[in-house]
Symmetry: C2
Subunit: 460 residues, 2 copies
């Protein structure tokens, strides 16, 4: 394979490289559709991911295809855009090049303008060893893995005769009380009490314990005290146990240990754990910091200028979950608006505008929503806050509108109708690959590393 | 973990154990719904698989959930049925017990009547080393793997500058001219010329070469000469290249070698290969043969008596792809009817009927259908044969009817409407797990086995 540099030749048109196919990257690409530029979007997945609905894939409501349209098909008609699949491993600001890897193949792509929108990964706050036992909720693979673990727990419980083991298998712990954690805990509760009701003979899914742990005193911090309490009450009605003011201090294959503010530790025996407690921006931010002297915040986000560019590099923008902009937390709207802003700045540059004349990026907070359960959501738009069925209908409508670009709006509406009215779920498939092989892969990697370490000469 | 034997106690009711959740096993279970028996269905997957539509998952038309409803949810209302997930590793006819494994857990289940419906695997006719390079089409994992390989080939071609490599990446070889091979080749051709049209910038998917190889002189042997020729013409119109009278003699990562009847060999450079050429019945047939003296045919199928039972074991039935019954090839209808027959025989036994009085199993051939492309199928019902749009409409209607039991009929109809009219496909997601990790897993297993072999003392 080796290196190929076909994308490195001088182009008569301005070369815009976008890293990432999430909300930020895709928005930037689309806003450049009428611009006289060559856009190259580089992404490590072949799809754009509608991440806010990932929990619905994990809990079997919708198929992964409904929230993950193929990026190059989305951009097929935009003739100035090229999609390259690959993981960006190096950004070279001085040489204006980006290097990416895909299946052993290295590609170098030159740029005149760069939009870095590589997103964020799950953060375990320095406890990366938790990841093996408590997957995050950032990718389609994560969602399918979590689906396999939820259903795998019940299958094992059905075969077990040991009450302690059954308790462990039927305790589901979600760490993190933000929208993803709240929505996932709500769905697991509805799934076990509705969808799976009567499907087992020895185990009653209704006795399953769903626990939501958060370090702070209330859920949904970004929504304010009142909505947080509404969501908490709704979850408790569904039977979710809330452990607030608790910090997770240990996670292993069989348990989670939470540390309360009063100093006591509690061990929760649990087979299936999900981590949605924190994010860390893409490590590409570190490369930008090294080469430009820009600072990163505590989540690894890049402290960009008011025009989302790197100080001293007016043609390099950082958007989405990677940008540190006061007042913008890691939500889709922030990324979409950031990507659009960068595209507009690039277009202004084509028309001869001076980067110094750029108006600062202004985030328009369109509000926040979280669907706690079927028929119940909480919505905050400016000072307007409400929870309940009306909020849920608003959530439903808005999410369908945002799916407009994708052909699956009808399919999704149908799947929702089925699940919300009948409690059935159409997408409960567990593949061998997600259910068993992923664990085996981890074990083999580990074993091999140990064998290689043991075989290596001690001086090496 | 360890062994548990909770299902081994004497039951006041007759214990019927069914191995397999395919067409045969599920039909047997459902036909026992009003019988005064305890049914235990043991299956290594959590889902029932509508295998005839698997090629549509592989080519991104439908989501896996649409053809793989969770078995225990399907049987939730049937209170006399219990579903156990596990791979059956031992059948003990003398002790009337079945032993199964799931995630390190062993379960032993006693039976009074046994229905063995464990199906068939892909057969490589003694060349199992081909499997790594040319996956079969028997499971959801297979279909998702093939989807990842098809799309992965295009992604790599888009990054390549080497014309020879691009030729290899854009040559798709399907081995086996039965319904699965024909339908898959047709769909790959439609996908590359329709769905993917315009999605790549350097590569034109329309130049992709789709090759269908078969050892005999015509396609769709079971449909007869005339329909086989119709299907062949339709595939050729779609640009599929037919290599008939060719036997595959070698497959590796980069190529397929076919041997023609005139003695010449041809090497086809190809990255993505699919094997749908043959089947071998589940190895559980070997255990039955050993313990009962029954014979297996050349495909490993069990030569059952006229009542589908094992000679000398009137309470042990073998149905579906595992049964060798003259005139019944491995199709869904044969399995469904076999499962239903076994259930009826068990019910008759409850009423005191003598096994010797059983009427022989009679297969009612309801006909065969294959959807060669959108708007074109071939249908054979008795002496009636036709191909074209009308046949395709018949195929469409019948497959929807057969999906009735599943809630996804509406979803599937919608997905079909989208794909057949707009050529778009909603399910093109490739997960890391299917796209990359499966290969890594194989490599690691191989490497580890070699290391362990090297580390073992030579005398061991």
């Amino acid at each position: 394979m080796g290196v190929n540099t076909q994308r490195d030749h001088a182009s008569p048109r301005r070369r815009v490289v976008i890293i990432g196919s999430g909300f930020g990257g895709l928005a930037a690409a689309k806003h450049l559709r009428h611009a006289d530029v060559d856009v190259t979007l580089i992404s490590k997945t072949t799809h754009h991911l509608f991440q806010p609905m990932l929990y619905q894939v994990a809990t079997g409501i919708i198929a992964e295809g409904e929230i993950a349209p193929t990026t190059r098909v989305v951009l097929a008609e935009q003739r100035n855009a090229t999609v390259l699949v690959g993981e960006v491993v190096e950004i070279d600001l001085a040489a204006q090049k980006v290097r990416s890897h895909f299946l052993g193949r290295t590609t170098t792509t030159g740029f005149d303008s760069l939009v870095v929108a590589a997103g964020a990964e799950q953060s375990y706050f320095g406890n990366d060893q938790f990841a093996e036992f408590a997957p995050g909720m950032k990718t389609i693979d994560d969602a399918l893995e979590i689906r396999a673990r939820i259903l795998g727990a019940f299958e094992q419980a059905e075969l077990s005769e040991d009450p302690q083991e059954i308790e462990k298998l039927l305790t589901f712990v979600v760490v993190g009380g933000g929208p993803t954690g709240v929505e996932l805990a709500g769905q697991i509760a509805e799934m076990v009490r509705g969808t799976l009701k009567g499907a087992y003979r020895r185990v009653d899914p209704a006795v399953a314990r769903v626990v939501l742990v958060d370090g702070s005193a209330s859920l949904l911090q970004a929504f304010g005290q009142s909505l947080g309490e509404k969501a908490a009450r709704r979850l408790e009605e569904l039977g979710v146990q809330l452990l607030l003011n608790r910090r997770v201090v240990h996670v292993d294959a069989d348990s989670v240990t939470v540390h309360a503010k009063d100093g006591t530790d509690e061990v929760l025996p649990s087979f299936c754990k999900v981590w949605s407690a924190g994010v860390a921006a893409s490590p590409l931010g570190g490369q930008l910091a090294e080469q430009s002297g820009v600072k990163l915040d505590h989540s690894g986000r890049v402290e960009v200028g008011p025009d989302l560019s790197l100080p001293g590099h007016p043609d390099v923008f950082v958007v989405g979950d990677m940008m540190a902009v006061p007042g913008v937390c890691g939500v889709a709207q922030g990324a979409i608006q950031g990507g659009a802003y960068a595209a507009k700045a690039i277009k202004a540059g084509l028309a001869g505008a001076d980067p110094a004349s750029r108006k600062p990026f202004r985030y328009w907070d369109k509000g926040s929503m979280a669907a706690v359960s079927r028929f119940y959501a909480v919505v905050k738009v400016g000072k307007v806050e409400f929870g309940g069925l009306l909020a849920w209908l608003a959530w439903l409508g808005l999410h369908l509108v945002y799916l407009v670009g994708y052909r699956n709006r009808v399919a999704t509406l149908w799947e929702w109708a089925v699940t919300f009215f009948s409690e059935r779920r159409g997408q409960l498939v567990v593949t061998v690959q997600q259910g068993v092989a992923r664990t085996e892969l981890k074990n083999l990697r580990h074993k091999l590393a140990e064998l290689e370490k043991a075989a290596a000469p001690p001086t090496a």
